[in-house]
């Protein structure tokens, strides 16, 4: 489709795009490796069963790489509103829903292109470090580990699309970025000082970050505030709401 080609051309001719993708991969891999390197089997009370969630640890890079995914999503509209290039875009393609769909597709492709190799590399690298540190590991490819790794990739995609929706609504890069980072990072921080267990549970079940990152758990699932797929579903709901709000704003308001 023409719109897709145009949006792809826009994305690939921007100086920041390759850096953002590299950043996403780098953070995913290095943080996971650091997490793995910080543990050694001799710290375990019982070497046969350390009770660590190895898959989840190897994917710990998500804590930071999601910020990069947010930036990618925000820039899709933020750049155009900031430079007023949005007028050209809308003049070239008056069907605004198609523009939104085109941007969403390109953001999705970019994030997936970085997330898939990043997650795979992080998982593999962390496993070699764990083995070197003496931990006995479960099989590399299990239903749980595929869910954790695949879910991490999905999480990144959802978060980027969430940011896209917010940026179509807010139109200002800094404002949209702060809003999305606040939504993601503020609730877990709040949960630290809130001692009321009811409130803690509420926060963890409905906040996009804590609910969404439940997908990474492969062991000790009963201790989670919400099940892995349901948690990712919570994030998907937030994303859907943001996209709808952004679409309404983009379609209805003056360019």
């Amino acid at each position: 489709m023409n719109v897709l080609r145009a949006e792809w051309t826009k994305a690939r001719t921007l100086q920041s795009t390759p850096w953002l993708l590299i950043g996403l991969v780098a953070l995913t891999v290095t943080v996971g490796a650091l997490a793995a390197a910080s543990l050694h089997v001799r710290d375990c009370a019982d070497p046969a069963d350390c009770g660590e969630d190895f898959a989840k640890l190897s994917l710990a890079g998500l804590w930071l790489s999601q910020a990069v995914a947010v930036v990618i999503g925000v820039l899709a509209f933020g750049n155009e509103y900031g430079t007023r290039m949005i007028t050209l875009t809308v003049a070239a393609v008056p069907g605004r829903l198609r523009v939104l769909a085109g941007k969403a597709t390109v953001v999705l492709v970019l994030v997936l292109a970085a997330a898939v190799p990043g997650v795979v590399a992080a998982y593999a690298l962390a496993r070699t470090i764990f083995t070197r540190n003496g931990f006995p590991l479960p099989d590399a490819v299990t239903a749980a580990s595929v869910r954790a790794a695949g879910g991490t990739v999905l999480y990144l995609a959802l978060v980027a699309l969430l940011a896209l929706g917010v940026s179509a609504l807010v139109r200002d890069t800094s404002g949209a970025l702060s809003a999305v980072l606040a939504l993601l990072y503020a609730t877990p921080a709040l949960a630290l000082v809130v001692s009321d267990p009811t409130w803690q549970e509420r926060l963890q079940r409905f906040s996009p970050l804590t609910a969404g990152m439940a997908i990474q758990a492969t062991t000790n699932l009963d201790a989670l505030p919400i099940g892995p797929w349901r948690g990712l579903g919570v994030l998907a709901a937030w994303t859907a709401a943001a996209l709808v709000a952004g679409a309404v704003s983009f379609l209805a308001r003056d360019a």
Binding site: S38, L39, E52, V70, V71, S178, L181, A189, V193, V194
Partner: protein
């Protein structure tokens, strides 16, 4: 252009953008609102049964007491023949107390395996000297004054200290006591945190016990322990065995101030989390908007030295943020303390915090400084990167992510995170001392350490930004 003119120019720039003024106001409102939210969603889970000292503070007063009544003035001498090393702060000694009840006024002198002879009165340390078991201890009571001594041989006494126990009645209990504090166990592995206490049982043997004065005839043996302490009563309750004038006593617990580490002041100031989410972008945009619109060229034309422009911005925005942050912090403090009290954070476990206490005042001012330093960090990051998005993402991520990552990693890693990222700045809002008992990682470092970390980040960012401003093309 003199610096004064630059300041005036930057102030005009700032106040003429209504969105920015709105952001400052919003930051203050969010700080207060979020603090209220954090306070309303908290309850404490400390069980009852806390003891209260004569001046109303929560205390631990758990030990095994072998005692008899003494009417009027008198003295007690005993030799601590042996003491098991169950804990560096285990105590074996003698005490005069206003009854065998927890929280009652007392004065004591005891030896510890750690190597001191310690005098305490009313849950405060009075003085200490070096010495271990075996040791002679002596306690003289005269009206409300108590003086304690120790000796190596039982004849030459050296004074340890004196105390005034106001309101001490004529008849008091005097005797021997043994106690041993629990071991702190903090287990943090990747993904879970467990904080607990394993009780220890101290044991000591007393000999050559002598009471001078109008004392009762028989020794009573009482276990002062808070209800529900430990799971296995056999492991914590004390005991006394007397054989031929030698008393072998076991006891568990600790004596001293027992303020819980939860800091109501900090909970009431936690709204700065919301405030910083508005102020950091403001600091960034304050400089990057000039680059975006090309206004920077006009600014540099007016001030060719360039770096003073950044300094002027820092002064103007920093000063404004501090003023607004301080106002918000004060409002948040006064509004949240009653809310917290309603949610169980009340005396005696949580004494009322007053702004007149230095540490409380320090925490409130610390909250304002915290917000200011983060705003300045944003300003510096914006000057370095010249584009809003990466600067905002970097500062917010580095400030927030370590807080909750630090709550699920081992203690050493968490403390390191707090000392190397701006997240450590949250420690500036704590009024109570550093502790390892809480989930929040920033409670592990002291407020001045937090100030140092965040201050360094802001300073480095601003200096780097100023230097790059001079070097790069506009």
């Amino acid at each position: 252009m003199s610096f004064r003119h630059l300041l005036r120019a930057e102030w005009t720039k700032l106040r003429s953008v209504s969105r920015w003024l709105l952001a400052l106001a919003a930051a203050a409102v969010f700080t207060v609102a979020f603090s209220v939210l954090a306070s309303s969603a908290g309850t404490t889970n400390f069980e009852g049964g806390v003891a209260v000292s004569p001046d109303g503070k929560p205390v631990a007063d758990d030990f095994h007491f072998v005692h008899k009544p003494l009417a009027g003035d008198g003295s007690l001498v005993a030799r601590v023949a042996e003491q098991d090393n169950t804990h560096a702060d285990a105590m074996a000694g003698i005490m005069v107390k206003n009854g065998a009840t927890r929280g009652a006024s007392y004065a004591s002198v005891a030896v510890t395996p750690g190597g001191d002879v310690r005098m305490m009165a009313d849950f405060r340390d009075v003085d200490a000297r070096t010495g271990t078991a075996p040791r002679w201890l002596r306690l003289d009571r005269s009206g409300t004054r108590v003086t304690t001594y120790d000796s190596a041989d039982g004849s030459t006494w050296r004074e340890i200290g004196r105390a005034e126990l106001a309101g001490l009645p004529a008849t008091v209990e005097v005797g021997m006591f043994v106690t041993s504090p629990g071991e702190l166990i903090v287990q943090r592995s990747a993904g879970s945190t467990g904080v607990g206490e394993r009780p220890t049982s101290g044991r000591a043997t007393f000999a050559d016990v002598r009471v001078d004065g109008a004392a009762g005839p028989a020794w009573a043996s009482d276990d002062l322990v808070r209800p529900g302490f430990g799971k296995d009563p056999a492991s914590v309750s004390g005991s006394t065995r007397e054989a031929a004038g030698r008393f072998t006593v076991t006891g568990s617990g600790s004596i001293g101030l027992n303020e819980p580490p939860d800091d109501t002041v900090q909970i009431g100031l936690f709204g700065t989390l919301a405030g910083l989410l508005v102020l950091v972008p403001l600091g960034v945009v304050y400089i990057t908007s000039e680059y975006r619109r090309g206004l920077i060229r006009t600014t540099f034309a007016a001030a060719p030295a360039r770096a003073p422009v950044l300094a002027a911005k820092a002064v103007v925005l920093g000063g404004l943020t501090f003023a607004i942050g301080l106002a918000a912090a004060l409002v948040a403090f006064f509004v949240t303390q009653p809310i917290l009290r309603d949610h169980g954070f009340k005396p005696p476990m949580f004494p009322e915090q007053s702004l007149t206490e230095p540490r409380v005042l320090r925490a409130v001012i610390g909250a304002a400084v915290f917000l200011t330093l983060l705003t300045l960090l944003g300003l510096g990051a914006g000057a370095v990167m010249r584009r809003g998005a990466p600067a905002i993402a970097a500062v917010i991520t580095l400030t927030l992510v370590p807080t909750f990552v630090g709550s699920v990693v081992p203690v050493a890693a968490a403390r390191t995170l707090m000392l190397i990222t701006p997240a450590g700045g949250f420690a500036m809002q704590r009024a109570k001392p550093a502790t390892e008992w809480l989930v929040e990682p920033w409670s592990m470092i002291g407020p001045w350490a937090g100030f140092a970390v965040l201050g360094t980040y802001a300073a480095v960012a601003l200096v780097a930004g100023g230097w790059l401003m001079r070097r790069r093309d506009a």
